[in-house]
């Protein structure tokens, strides 16, 4: 069932304010899809959208950052606690378009989460992607990427690890045939601009406040350059970067 009460398997801090939660599920999902999570008896009305970070057999792994009340509530959950899990939702990365191409994955902060399964899928196709991950300070979860990437480079703004600076300084999009990107909006804007200049197609995973997550309520729309609305939850969350008007 794509909406059910499930029991938390594990939930632990893996970086500063960053948690990894494992939940059971037997429904197969595509890399880049997301789920809506809501604690049983939550004090909050709406579930929270979290991207699938990993899927092994019957276990889903989510990586999330505590930014407000909802994610704080999730972070307080203990094994055995119950939550409502709805999904998988959204379109997922365009894996069919990637086969045989030179692919670069660019992740910023918690935005690295939806990239891991893309890396795994490409590695399985025998076509591992290069991977550039940027963090404000201490990196996290990069060890999970290591085995599934080609070249892995790290940037940190504070300089505690890898290149001191922004992730956009780590790569030249002209070296790749396609780029997949997820991170804070300013970073995605910058990556899209670089790729556009280099003529390299780029796909981004967007975030937007959501209610239904299934395309019914129209609160999560973003705009393309023609001013047409796109539902982040249903038509996305993954869009061609060139199409999206980040300033709408």
């Amino acid at each position: 069932m794509p909406s059910e009460m499930v029991t938390v398997r594990s939930n632990q801090e893996v970086g500063e304010d960053v948690f990894e939660m494992r939940l059971p599920s037997s429904v197969p999902a595509k890399p880049g899809q997301f789920y809506m999570l809501r604690r049983e008896g939550s004090a909050l009305l709406l579930p929270r959208a979290i991207s699938l970070c990993n899927q092994e057999e019957d276990t889903l792994t989510f990586l999330y950052k505590v930014v407000g009340e909802g994610t704080a509530e999730l972070s307080n959950m203990k094994p055995g606690d119950k939550l409502r899990l709805t999904g998988p939702l959204g379109n997922g990365w365009p894996l069919e378009e990637l086969s045989g191409k030179r692919v670069l994955l660019v992740g910023g902060g918690i935005g690295i989460a939806p990239l891991l399964l893309a890396a795994k899928a490409l590695r399985q196709q025998g076509n591992p992607a290069d991977c550039c991950l940027g963090f404000p300070h201490q990196p996290f979860y990069q060890e999970a990427f290591q085995p599934d990437c080609g070249a892995l480079s790290i940037a940190t703004e504070s300089g505690v690890a890898g290149h001191k600076g922004l992730v956009t300084q780590l790569f030249d999009p002209a070296d790749y045939e396609i780029v997949l990107c997820c991170g804070p909006t300013p970073m995605m804007k910058a990556v899209v601009a670089l790729c556009k200049a280099a003529g390299t197609p780029v796909w981004v995973s967007l975030e937007n406040r959501m209610a239904c997550g299934v395309g019914a309520c129209l609160v999560c729309t973003c705009s393309d350059h023609q001013g047409k609305n796109r539902r982040t939850c249903k038509d996305g969350p993954i869009f061609r970067g060139e199409e999206i008007n980040f300033d709408a």
Partner: protein, 299 residues
């Protein structure tokens, strides 16, 4: 014992309908609950012409509620009839087309098209900004609301609900006026007017400043209005506003509602509508009620 009931002459499997704007055209949710079990589905609010809706943020969470500023984004009545309605029809539940507009002419044209489209019920949403009157809501004063209702009544011959705004100056007077202008039934409440300010960015969240409040937070207000309206008019009343559990639905049925709608609750739990139907059934069994109308408070 049966959950089956009639609303304005239309047979419903059960009195649980999905509220307009929260359930799209029904198909969006088809993978997440058994949509065929629902009593009915109100379409996303339609207007004569397609609309892109409002710019900027469209949603903000509040305690036990949410504010929305979708702004009637919809594909237009013709597109609906051609492309969405056939799919909706195939789902099973009764189809209620929710119609809005910016001018009386727009309402009338939309209703005329829907008149022969094969919908079960028309739900006239009068909580829309009146373009000609500087954006004031059609649903605040009886004099303006009745103009819309009676104009639409002339062109729409099927069963017609008028959906009331809780912002009406006097909800009971508004209900009576709409009934007299030709409504076969009334549904209430639409969203309450609310707003939010982002305290760190120091500006109102929504471009339009105000937005519509829905969800469990509004339920006590909705229930009081339904209770008062039921006692003032002689037509079926559909109750909604914050219904999330079977208990909430029963409160409205006790208040005298002929049916209920579930909106915001489906966001927190896609299975909520079915849990409500099941809970209602158990409630009726426990209390020995034969028909939905038996639930209503006596006296």
């Amino acid at each position: 014992m049966t959950l089956e009931t009639k609303l304005l002459g239309v047979t419903l499997k059960n009195p649980v309908l999905m509220a307009s704007g929260t359930f799209g055209f029904g198909e969006e949710y088809a993978g997440y609950l058994d949509v065929s079990r629902l009593g009915g589905i109100c379409s996303k609010g339609l207007t004569l012409h397609p609309r892109e809706g409002n710019y900027g943020p469209r949603m903000w969470e509040t305690p036990a509620g949410m504010l929305n500023s979708v702004g009637l984004q919809n594909p237009g009545v013709e597109h609906f009839i051609r492309h969405e309605l056939p799919g909706m029809r195939g789902l099973g539940p009764a189809i209620i087309a929710n119609l809005g507009g910016g001018t009386i002419e727009e309402y009338v044209e939309g209703a005329r098209l829907l008149n022969s489209a094969g919908i079960d019920i028309l739900e006239l949403n009068i909580s829309c900004p009146n373009v000609k009157e500087g954006g004031a809501n059609f649903g605040l004063k009886p004099a303006i609301a009745t103009q819309v209702v009676s104009a639409v009544r002339k062109v729409f011959s099927g069963p017609m609900l008028v959906k009331l705004s809780p912002g009406a100056e006097n909800i009971v007077e508004m209900a009576k006026a709409c009934r007299q202008a030709g409504a076969d039934g009334l549904s209430l409440i639409n969203t309450l007017l609310g707003m939010a300010i982002d305290v760190e960015q120091r500006k109102p969240v929504f471009r339009n400043i105000a937005a519509g409040l829905s969800g469990p937070a509004v339920r006590p207000v909705a229930l009081r209005m339904v209770y008062d309206v039921v006692r003032a008019v002689d037509c079926p009343v559909v109750g909604l506003g914050g219904i999330a559990t079977w208990r909430d639905a029963v409160e409205f049925l006790l208040a005298g509602a002929a049916a209920v709608q579930v909106g915001t609750a489906v966001f927190q739990n896609p299975e909520a509508p079915l849990e409500i139907i099941d809970g209602l059934q158990r409630y009726m069994e426990r209390h020995g009620f034969e028909h939905i109308s038996d639930i209503r408070l006596k006296k």
